[in-house]
């Protein structure tokens, strides 16, 4: 009888249960089995140095995740059974969910696809396994989000065709191009962009606004989803930190490449998150915190600690971070103002913030709101009161890279639009900032391919020759139902009826609804 004497420690056992199942091929060339590992210029000398982030075997994964799913779906069922959608603070809140489902959920599916691919492309088995587990986590996220929103879709508008809209609606090209950019990149850039920049550096700036927003506004389904997903995110964060350290430690030639990626993805992420900031400051009836506050805590403080730690590798903080720090006082107001006037072409409603809300904004933005942005809202409020709620009939110039309308201002002058142009091979391209210009100039052949929604509309590629036809036929939005001003919308009226409210808990602005031109 043989007694088992030796027991492996956790680290060694995990290696045997993952990377040790790989081997050095001899019947096929390694370069043919892993053809995409070298083209980015990243040099890996020793995959054995890869430290597994969370050490989760599949049996433990299934066990823990199943526990989470059981709890989560019980909440979804209870929420639906008890008409939880009527317990939210105010129907305006649901517009945040419309933004989320059309803008963010499809990215989760994109992440699933990207990590599935990365989970095959690396010759390091440890990295592959970590990527695959993230892939299936992301599938979890998109599916649980679809399920969480399913009940809302039955009672509110604008949620009904999220995938279709993500591919077509003008402002959704901002998140879509962000993720297409990451997925079209090689595996090392993909991980730097998503695992590190997005899932580690910037993740709190996506999750805290939406999930805390849900908590503060009575949305039990979404807040439960959020907490449930966050435990997956902890694993994703450690992958992000591990991959960046691994690449930096493998070869000094990797440092400048990674620095360029850090700069690029910080800026693209910052521009993408401006939509989230707008949501935080303007769409939540019960406010969590201001975008400026969130940026200060989750980027300036947390990020500061992180980049101090990375100094030892020769990495510096992202270029233009100072602009983002300055921008935190401005961007949400600028973006809301833009969506306000293009609300005839969005799947969510917009409105003028109430007097209380404007007071809150003035307190949170003491140097900027009253001075630069309140006057606009006063002006539009007056127009609305006169039965001429403003909709802009001219389509906006989009930035070639981030695809946000070029609505941002110079860091040192908020009265001056920050607009840049570059002529490349005889064609003129437009940008919102130096940050986006830099990105373009590093890879012009990539960014000239972009499917810019406004260009496409004007070229007649979006289903019709006028905005209303585009909105109805191409976007699948029902005019007068899914779009336009919140006050007086079918959703607004239905909310009042549910709550049996005599006087509306409504934002400022009265008078008739007018369809956009």
């Amino acid at each position: 009888m043989t007694m088992q004497k030796k027991k492996l420690g956790l680290k060694d056992k995990y290696r045997y249960l993952t990377r040790d199942m790989a081997w050095e091929p001899t019947y096929q060339k390694k370069a043919d089995i892993f053809p995409h590992e070298d083209f980015e210029g990243i040099k890996i000398t020793d995959w054995d140095k890869w430290e597994d982030p969370f050490r989760l075997t599949m049996d433990a994964y299934w066990k823990y995740q199943a526990e989470k799913e059981k709890k989560l779906y019980a909440i979804f069922d209870a929420f639906a059974q008890n008409n939880g959608h009527q317990n939210i603070s105010d129907a305006r809140y649901v517009n945040a969910l419309k933004l989320f489902l059309t803008g963010v959920s499809p990215l989760e599916y994109g992440a699933f696809q990207g990590f599935s691919r990365a989970g095959r492309q690396f010759s390091g088995a440890g990295a592959r396994v970590a990527c695959q587990m993230q892939a299936i986590d992301e599938l979890r996220h998109v599916q649980t989000q679809i399920h969480a929103m399913s009940h809302y879709n039955k009672h509110f508008n604008g949620l009904h065709d999220f995938s279709h809209m993500h591919d077509r609606v003008w402002f959704l090209s901002v998140p879509k191009s962000f993720f297409d950019d990451a997925r079209s990149a090689g595996p090392f850039e993909f991980l730097t962009a998503i695992s590190f920049s997005f899932e580690y550096v910037l993740t709190n700036l996506l999750f805290v606004p939406f999930m805390s927003g849900a908590a503060y506004n009575g949305d039990m389904a979404t807040v439960t989803f959020g907490f449930s997903a966050q435990s997956d995110e902890a694993r994703h964060m450690t992958l992000g930190l591990e991959v960046i350290k691994f690449m930096l430690e493998q070869h000094e030639d990797n440092v400048p490449i990674i620095q360029r990626w850090i700069d690029k993805w910080f800026w693209r992420g910052y521009r993408l998150l401006s939509l989230v900031g707008m949501m935080m400051d303007y769409m939540l009836p019960n406010k969590v915190m201001s975008w400026a506050e969130a940026w200060e805590v989750y980027y300036e403080q947390n990020g500061g600690a992180l980049f101090k730690d990375l100094e030892r590798y020769g990495i510096r903080p992202p270029k233009y971070q100072e602009q983002a720090n300055i921008g935190k006082q401005h961007i949400t107001h600028q973006i809301w103002a833009t969506f306000y006037q293009y609300s005839h072409a969005t799947n969510f409603h917009t409105w003028i913030p109430s007097e209380d809300e404007q007071q809150w904004l003035a307190e949170k933005y003491p140097d900027t709101f009253d001075k630069y942005y309140r006057p606009r809202f006063d002006h539009w409020q007056e127009q609305h009161a006169n039965g001429q709620r403003f909709y802009n009939s001219i389509l906006p110039q989009l930035c070639q890279v981030c695809q946000v309308p070029a609505l941002f201002t110079e860091p040192d002058d908020p009265t001056q639009l920050s607009h840049r142009q570059i002529v490349h091979e005889g064609e003129r391209y437009h940008f919102c900032s130096d940050g986006c210009c830099d990105i373009f100039q590093n890879e012009p052949e990539k960014y000239i391919q972009a499917w810019l929604p406004v260009h496409q509309i004007y070229q007649g590629n979006c289903g019709g020759g006028d905005v209303q036809t585009v909105v109805e036929k191409y976007y699948h939005l029902k005019n007068g139902q899914d779009n336009l001003e919140y006050v007086g919308s079918p959703e607004y009226l239905r909310w009042l009826a549910w709550k049996k409210l005599a006087t509306p808990q409504a934002p400022a602005g009265t008078g008739d609804r007018r369809d956009a031109a």
Binding site: F227, A234, A305, K308, R312
Partner: protein, 90 residues
Amino acid sequence: MKQLAFIVFQDNDNARYLVDAITEDNPRAEVQYQPAMIRIQAEKRLEIRRETVEEKIGREWDVQEMLIDVISIGGNVTEDDDSFVLEWKN
């Protein structure tokens, strides 16, 4: 500048034991109670020891169990059978 290692987890049944264990092993740690979640932070380093948690919780406890309730972390992670450490190295 301040470099805070931190962990945020859901404020549920397991949470009280984690808080007790972590504050015992990290005397300089600061605990913040937020709606439905708890944040614990300390300058540069935070360590969660299995032994201490088991003492508090009164049963066998796997470091990996924590995964179910974690919301966010800050710092480099070192994990083994007996502990979970978050720290900034520079």
